[in-house]
Symmetry: C2
Subunit: 318 residues, 2 copies
């Protein structure tokens, strides 16, 4: 079949003329791929190129791959022509299930055999999207975070008819292409990152609804409190490192009872022995033997840089 | 009374020998204050100075105030001596209510009249802490985020007996001292930032409990997805700017129904007209007339710097 090795991909097709489709095109161009952008209609080109130019400013700052060039973008409104020689397809069509199902019915035949087709969808499950696709085994979800040309996360999961090797291939390809792939364990609405973000968002809406905080209060709290730390240590490692020698075990054994307090409107799960052990073992796995002082020092160095970066951006610099 | 103007504070007293007390001392020294650290017992000094030295590495990188020096720290285990000439007291004693109540009973007499006493407590309300204090009107909560020498947020709120001018004074003083003060609207457990963080944490625990994600998955998702963006735009402005011309109004009117979807286990509040308007007006207030494209460009510049800072910190540099 025509599926290349993940590291041998040369030609990426980005389907969709909106900010996500154009953002993906920018990312893949910056990583040195030949990119074909499929637009629903060519008049979308002007806006598309504007998004690309905006993204390029940041991508240049982060460092382009050798040979990377915006000249290596081809735009077309002919779907068959777009995907004929694709090594990989990233689909970012509008978020309508009927539209996506019809699109995958066509792509299933047009895209070379075995080549992976990955959907940027944030709202649907691949099991539903691949319903009418004649070759569903190579279709996956590869959900980015906005803006897709900057934030590294891609959440990957297949549908019921997806072959596991397509999921593995997508993970390896995204990693090779400079992304941070996360293969999900189960098809759940909102994946991992959006669920966590939605938890923040709902708690924020509750606070505003109850007159406990304004939107500005919410944002001040996030930007100056948890966020700079979360960019270098996720919530699990932030607690693990903050608890010093005892790590996550201390955090759960000592502060576990606080889960019963009315902090947030979200009921906490029962802190069973099994959950405790999963959390502790998981943090130990991430730490991989590093001492908490080393990780705390790394955290501090990163926060210094993050605070400087935010300040510089607000002042108009890079 | 002895309360100076916020900008005239010269001598700050930091009570507590743990990471929060020592972290506050480091912050105030770096901002050029004379600092007295009160320790429960002098043998705590070695660990205290180690925390200070670690913090100093980062504080030097962020830039010290003129005249700032670690030489301007005095340590003592004599409470009366420590606070006799205080212009401001930051209390970070252990998190036990009976202990704090007894401490404030003493501080209420020992600290010069009118001088503001601010508690770092994360778990108690000032209404309870100030119960036995003979001069409760000048006691407030000034809750930092760990590490307190780096993360700018300080959440401020008084208790039932606190005078509003003590809260205002604390806000002005923290701002002058290089912090990002947030005066809370109501005494609620967890303040604003910790509630939002707890919402993430509980959703994460649910996912791990259900086998939907590992701790490592949670952290990868946060670090590579929402966090770098939240450091420059809180969740409200992140959505406002992502929706382009339509902003928060589009976000709520178009995606509001998605609040009913099972994203997170936290039930969303009813999206009333009033809540909608508060969110929209709040985002307009933060934007202060700036066009979304300007804010998106600022976001991108910041994320570039944040990603570089994280990468450099992981590689061992600053």
């Amino acid at each position: 079949m025509a599926r290349p090795l993940p590291q041998d991909v040369k030609h990426v097709v980005s389907i969709g003329g909106g900010p996500i489709g154009a953002g993906w095109a920018a990312h893949f161009l910056a990583r040195g791929y030949d990119v074909t952008g499929y637009l629903h209609a060519m008049p979308e080109e002007a806006v598309y190129r504007k998004i690309l130019d905006t993204a390029w400013l940041s991508l240049e700052q982060l460092g382009l791959a050798e040979g990377a060039s915006r000249e290596r973008l081809r735009l077309t409104d002919n779907l068959e022509d777009a995907v004929r020689t694709a090594d990989f397809v990233q689909e970012s069509a509008p978020e309508r299930l009927d539209l996506k199902q019809a699109l995958y019915a066509k792509l299933g035949t047009l895209v070379p055999e075995g080549v992976v087709i990955s959907s940027s969808t944030s709202g649907f499950m691949m099991t539903d999207i691949q319903m009418l696709c004649p070759t569903p085994e190579r279709t996956v979800i590869g959900h980015p975070f906005n803006p897709p040309y900057l934030l590294p996360l891609v959440e990957i999961i297949g549908g019921k008819k997806t072959s596991p090797d397509a999921v593995e291939w997508a993970r390896d390809f995204y990693a090779h292409a400079g992304k941070a792939p996360l293969v999900m364990k189960k098809e759940i609405p909102g994946f991992v990152a959006t669920r966590l973000q939605e938890a923040i968002w709902r708690e924020a809406l509750h606070m505003v609804a109850n007159g406990e905080a304004t939107p500005e209060d919410i944002d001040i709290a996030l930007m100056n409190g948890p966020a700079p730390r979360l960019a270098i240590q996720g919530q699990c490692m932030a607690f693990h490192v903050a608890c010093g020698e005892g790590g996550m075990a201390t955090n759960l054994d000592q502060f576990g009872p606080a889960l019963k307090l009315p902090w947030t409107r979200l009921q906490a799960p029962e802190l069973t022995k099994e959950l405790r052990d999963r959390m502790v073992d998981g943090c130990d796995a991430i730490a991989a033997g590093r001492h908490f002082e080393e990780m705390a020092a790394e955290r501090d160095r990163a926060i210094v840089g993050i605070l400087k970066a935010v300040k510089a951006a607000r002042a108009g610099g890079v």
